[in-house]
């Protein structure tokens, strides 16, 4: 999972697999971080236009 696990190898297999994994995790993390920060901002400013 991490380069310090001994079975880690700097090869194509690991690059593709963990590249995809960390990419997905990155998007989910960034997306949720954005949502939380934006929600906090909206709450503080309470612009009240958030109907959907």
């Amino acid at each position: 999972m991490f380069p310090f696990c001994f079975e880690w190898a700097w090869d194509m297999g690991h690059a593709i697999f963990f590249g995809g994994f960390w990419y997905a995790i990155g998007i989910l993390g960034a997306g949720m971080t954005y949502c939380f920060l934006k929600a906090a901002y909206d709450t503080i400013n309470d612009n009240g236009d958030s109907h959907h």
């Binding site: 297999g13 697999f17 963990f18 994994f21 989910l28 949720m32 949502c35 906090a40 909206d42």
Partner: protein, 419 residues
């Protein structure tokens, strides 16, 4: 009693009646939980699995719930990426069903492994060349996606939505849902596929082994495709059951027919690919290893050609044709028959790709091995069903799951009031 939590304007049964239902299903759930703890504390000797059946009922259940849970990713993909807006009427429910299916799958895996406390090794010591590693990673990540997709619906609960932060959070999550849905589709493609790959790469098992494209055996693509095809069938089936139990129309016919039509075309194209795959396997792949097709379907008490015919023709070709044909699709009876057949078909396919593989002898002097699950296995397999019923009941009661509910039941309510 719990009126303040029920969505505004929605009619729900009295709280005691609701609780009676929950208690009955809860008893089944507790039975499953008891069996689960038996397996955890006493070990897998509680099951009837053996060294021939290392994969058995649970792995079938796991593959089956993931396949039928595929409705969530596929509906999400259509709604958020391909902008099929009509599906907004069923997307919440599809997500809840997916959430139940995937949480169940993870739970089953946690019971299934011999050393549950070492479950994290699959992540930490990952062998990136194993299909099961890919399954574990994508499954867990996709479960996170489903949770993210489910959260806004939970926050829309009447009381939760009064909290400004929750209100804004739900709104903002809706705004960027396409990003999550795209990630979910990406992850689903790989885990559905790698579940097929689990069987397809076993070159020591001629019943399972398939050739393929690069590192992916054909079963990889067939599993993804079948999950996208039959997943919506399960979404429609659960919707139908929920409508029957609640006595209300919850999703408009236009949405139902649209999803059924998409599912029908997916099933039809899938089944063509499946037939081609089966023919190639039967006449090229298996013979190259010294096996005739009849070897896989004779000399045992259960697995005959009927299995193949039921899966491919009765539960594949038939529902596909019923759903692409306008008149049978729009007829509630034939549509329901088609979606039931479809769900059975995909479950049967997963059964074959798990249990029949284990049953078929490979060494010329070996014998067929059949197995009957223990009650602990059955109980833990029913456990997710009970859990799913409870979660759907609670979600339906307290969350605005079906956007069309009020509109579709307006006249009935009015009639009731007038009457």
């Amino acid at each position: 009693m719990d009126d303040a939590l029920i969505p505004e304007g929605a009619k729900r049964c009295a709280f005691p009646i609701f609780m009676i239902g929950i208690v009955i299903v809860g008893a089944v759930l507790l039975w499953g939980v008891y069996a689960m703890f038996l397996c955890w504390f006493k070990g897998l000797n509680q099951t009837n699995m053996n060294d021939y059946y290392g994969f058995a009922l649970w792995i079938w259940a796991d593959l089956a719930v993931i396949a039928v849970g595929g409705g969530a990713f596929f509906t999400g993909l259509l709604k958020y990426i391909f902008k099929v807006d009509e599906l907004k009427n069923i997307i919440n429910f599809a997500v809840i069903i997916g959430f139940i299916c995937y949480s169940s799958a993870l739970l089953i895996l946690a019971i299934d492994i011999g050393q549950p406390l070492r479950g994290w090794f699959i992540f930490w010591h990952a062998n990136v060349h194993s299909m099961l590693t890919e399954v574990a990673y994508c499954l867990s990540c996709y479960f996170a996606v489903l949770t993210i997709e489910f959260i806004p619906n939970i926050l829309e609960n009447r009381q939760a939505n009064k909290v400004p932060f929750f209100h804004h959070l739900a709104h903002n999550m809706h705004e960027v849902m396409a990003v999550f849905a795209a990630t979910g589709a990406f992850l689903s493609f790989f885990h559905q596929g790698s579940l097929g790959g689990v069987a397809g790469v076993m070159f020591g098992r001629p019943f399972a082994y398939r050739e393929g494209l690069l590192i992916w055996p054909w079963t990889f693509f067939l599993f993804t495709w079948s999950a996208a095809a039959f997943g919506p069938c399960f979404t429609l089936l659960v919707t139908k059951i929920t409508e029957r139990i609640t006595g209300k129309k919850l999703v408009g016919d236009k949405t139902i027919n649209l999803l059924a039509k998409i599912s029908g075309w997916m099933i039809t194209t899938y089944i063509i690919a499946k037939i081609i795959d089966t023919i190639y396997w039967a006449f090229v792949t298996a013979p190259s290893m010294g096996f005739k097709l009849s070897h896989f379907y004779s000399n045992n008490g259960l697995y005959g050609y009927w299995m193949l015919i039921t899966e491919v023709i009765l539960c594949g070709v038939v529902p596909g044709l019923l759903l692409i044909n306008k008149s049978t699709r729009e007829n509630p009876t034939t549509r329901t028959i088609a979606i039931i057949l479809g769900v059975i078909g995909v479950c049967l396919n997963r059964w074959v790709m798990v249990l029949q593989i284990m049953a078929v002898p490979v060494m010329s002097f070996d014998t067929w091995a059949l197995y009957i699950p223990s009650w602990q296995e059955v109980a833990t397999t029913i456990l997710p069903v009970a859990y799913g019923i409870i979660l759907i009941a609670v979600a339906y009661r307290y969350l605005p799951v079906f956007p069309q509910e009020l509109e579709l039941n307006e006249s009935a309510d009015a009639a009731a009031q007038n009457g």
